[in-house]
């Protein structure tokens, strides 16, 4: 029974004989080694279509993954398997013709022990202090990074959590990264901070609250952005915010417009003129505050400055909540119908609020051994990438290459095909990577010319499954960037 391999990819724990696949048909025993059988993924686009692939023009039903004749094909690294430790040529080195030039794409799946995720969470809610530990199932899997405008940043994964800590820490880190890369939702908690559910391309859920839209700015910033548009339409504007509430006529922006002080005094602690802290707390009310009755934040209206007929607009930082008042002869605010011209400016605040999302960038370094699968002289590949001769993609998705040494890349996981990522028990993530360059340059850098096969040969071999090209991604075989 020595030819049996026990597969631990799922709880079924199949025992698989040599040359056979497990119950799922996706893992198999090849010569005593457990291997993944997911077919090679080929991205196809129609020649006469510059954008997205339209393979099923007539019957827009479903595509079973069959290859489309006459379509332009790009072999992705998904399912190509790796060659670790990489002293042999990459699994697929594929030539094709693009714009009259012979191109070659070196297709592989990299095992990335040095990899991590940069996660941007669009929220102003407090997630945790900078440097605080981010945990998943109790294990530390990353930390809070520097906050960005309107967003909180997390640095997750990385070699220290993958292989530098306990076995459990590594396993949880690997699974967390895999889940996020595959588009799954992961619950994270920050020490002395919030619990947040993160899912690429979806709104974050912070302490159980769904974040819907980013505010346009804090109350003070909103005053600054819209002051000229309010000028002449209202005598006072209060922008309600749980961070800094803005009061237009006292604010620098109002002074600049020569607005007279209106005497509407809000609660809270004054920071600088027209900017107030601690006016409202977090809640389900106006713009994420606990304010439901806007007049409740007005402390008093001063007779020495205010006047009967004064027009008062109160609005949240998302523009979703607003109220309009006119002061009566006793200087009491009376709700009135908002003039259309003012309504237009309120609507513009809402229009400027973008949906709150989580974005997940996979970051990894294509190290020495992976590059050795491309050429016998790996540094030439690095130089070629640096010189923009070689284009790098991950599952066909464009990547950002960091300046400096090595090939350190970042890619938006939502632009990669579904199921692009895998893992090995090291633990480390497995991700597709493709290097595309002119054939002549490939030969010059010491490429494995004997291993080059044509795209038609690969397609004819029957190992490939096709998926439509995504129009938002640049076609890797086209010239220029």
């Amino acid at each position: 029974m020595s030819d049996l391999v026990r597969c631990d990819a799922c709880p079924v724990l199949c025992r698989i004989r040599d040359g056979r696949a497990g119950a799922c048909d996706r893992y198999a025993n090849q010569g005593g080694e457990l291997v993944r059988l997911d077919p090679l993924l080929v991205a196809q686009r129609t020649l006469d279509h510059d954008g997205a692939m339209v393979p099923f023009l007539q019957s827009a039903e479903e595509w079973d993954g069959a290859l489309v004749a006459g379509a332009e094909s790009f072999i992705t690294g998904v399912g190509s398997t790796t060659t670790y430790p990489d002293y042999k040529p990459a699994p697929f080195i594929v030539s094709s013709k693009a714009g009259g030039v012979d191109m070659v794409t070196v297709v592989s799946e990299g095992i990335f022990s040095y990899c991590g995720l940069k996660v941007k969470i669009d929220t102003d809610r407090f997630l945790g202090d900078e440097q605080k530990a981010v945990r998943c199932q109790g294990e530390q899997v990353g930390h809070v990074s520097t906050a960005e405008y309107g967003s909180q940043m997390l640095a997750l994964g990385g070699v220290r959590h993958l292989t530098g800590g306990s076995k459990k820490e590594g396993a949880v880190t690997c699974q967390m990264m895999l889940d996020l890369c595959q588009g799954g939702a992961v619950e994270l908690s920050v020490d002395d901070g919030a619990a947040v559910v993160v899912q690429a391309g979806q709104a974050p859920i912070v302490d159980g609250a769904h974040e819907e839209r980013m505010r346009v700015g804090c109350g003070s910033a909103t005053i600054g952005m819209f002051a000229p548009q309010w000028h002449g339409l209202a005598d006072e504007v209060v922008v309600v915010d749980d961070h800094i509430t803005g009061v237009l006529s006292e604010h620098q922006a109002g002074k600049f417009l020569d607005m007279p002080t209106a005497g509407v005094r809000v609660r809270g602690r004054r920071s600088t003129p027209g900017r107030y802290f601690q006016v409202a707390g977090h809640g389900d009310g106006w713009g994420g505050t606990d304010v439901t009755d806007p007049l409740s934040i007005i402390d008093r209206i001063e007779a020495k400055n205010a006047w009967p007929g004064l027009r008062l607009l109160m609005v949240s930082t998302t523009g979703e909540d607003s109220a309009y008042f006119v002061l009566d002869d006793d200087l009491a605010p009376v709700a009135a119908e908002m003039p259309a011209s003012l309504r237009a400016v309120v609507d513009r605040i809402a229009e400027n609020c973008e949906p709150a999302l989580c974005s997940v960038l996979f970051m990894a370094g294509a190290g020495g051994s992976l590059r050795a699968g491309v050429t016998e002289n790996p540094v030439r590949l690095t130089r070629s990438v640096r010189a923009n001769v070689t284009r790098v993609s991950c599952g066909g998705a464009p990547v950002y290459i960091w300046p400096g040494g090595g090939i350190t890349l970042m890619v938006d996981v939502t632009r990669m095909p579904i199921g692009s990522f895998g893992y090995v028990p090291t633990p480390a993530l497995v991700a597709p990577i493709e290097f595309t360059l002119p054939l002549a340059d490939y030969e010059a850098m010491g490429g494995y010319m004997d291993a080059v096969q044509s795209v038609d040969e690969v397609l004819a071999s029957g190992v490939a499954r096709s998926l439509p090209w995504r129009g938002e991604n640049p076609w890797p075989l086209s010239s220029g960037n």
Binding site: M1, L4, D8, A9, C10, P11, V12, L13, C14, R15, I16, R17, R20, G22, A23, C24, D25, Q58, S59, E61, E62, D64, Q175, D179, Q182, G183, G184, I418, G419, P468
Partner: protein, 292 residues
Amino acid sequence: MNRPEAVFGADGRLFLRHGPIELIVEMFGAEAEVARAYDQARQYADGLLEELVKELTLLRRPLGAAYPMFHGAVAKAMARAAWPHRGVHITPMAAVAGAVADGVLAAAVAGCELEKGYVNNGGDIAFHLAPGAWLEAGVVADLGHGGLSGKARLRHDMAIRGIATSGWRGRSQSLGIADAVTVLASTAAQADAAATMIANRVDIDYPGIERVPANSLDPDSDLGTLAVTVAVPELSEGAKRSALLAGVDHARGLQSQGIIEGAMLSLGDQAATVGALAHENLQDLKDGENQL
């Protein structure tokens, strides 16, 4: 160990995958209801495989005189669907794919107002139909070549909520030589078990048919040392006919007992139909139409 994966395809359908469970879920109705149904399906599928694996040893044991007791709802449904076939070798595993589809479907539609919906577990399909709704299902006669050979319109007022297909070329093992046996039944679990059993009966002694002990291929096979088909040569027309008729006989028996509603059996270029699939429900397909 991989955790369950749940992803939405570009077409909006939900894909759930965990080990051998590979589900395509599609629901039709108001957006909020559909979203809720997908959410319920996802939650139900999480942990389902672990639950089944707990009882796997017993689920792989042939049914005998005593009705087996299981804890999990899906395991119970598997036993229920396999039980009527216990006159010959059968284990609850014969209904696993269909029972999983039934379970996920029931969880998805619970409390939701949906026009229709289906859960496709590798070709074994459970579906939901509101009054007036219908589903068009493509039937693949030859698993080796994949093309569609017919389609059936399944209406709300028919006692059919499950479809399953079995054959020796498919993912699971078969004692027979049918390229495909597609069964319609009131649940996917019943259809799954019946398709397996009918496919086992589509058989004939013929030189060149190769069979090997099931456990020589898969040491954990629930078929043990039974001989399963691994190669079928070109058969004479008469041989194909005889093999198919053996299966048709069995299918008719199951239909008369109310275990299945209809079946379509195919072997090479020959096919035969029984019950609901024999009537006006089955239409010829034009080229290029898509299957469910």
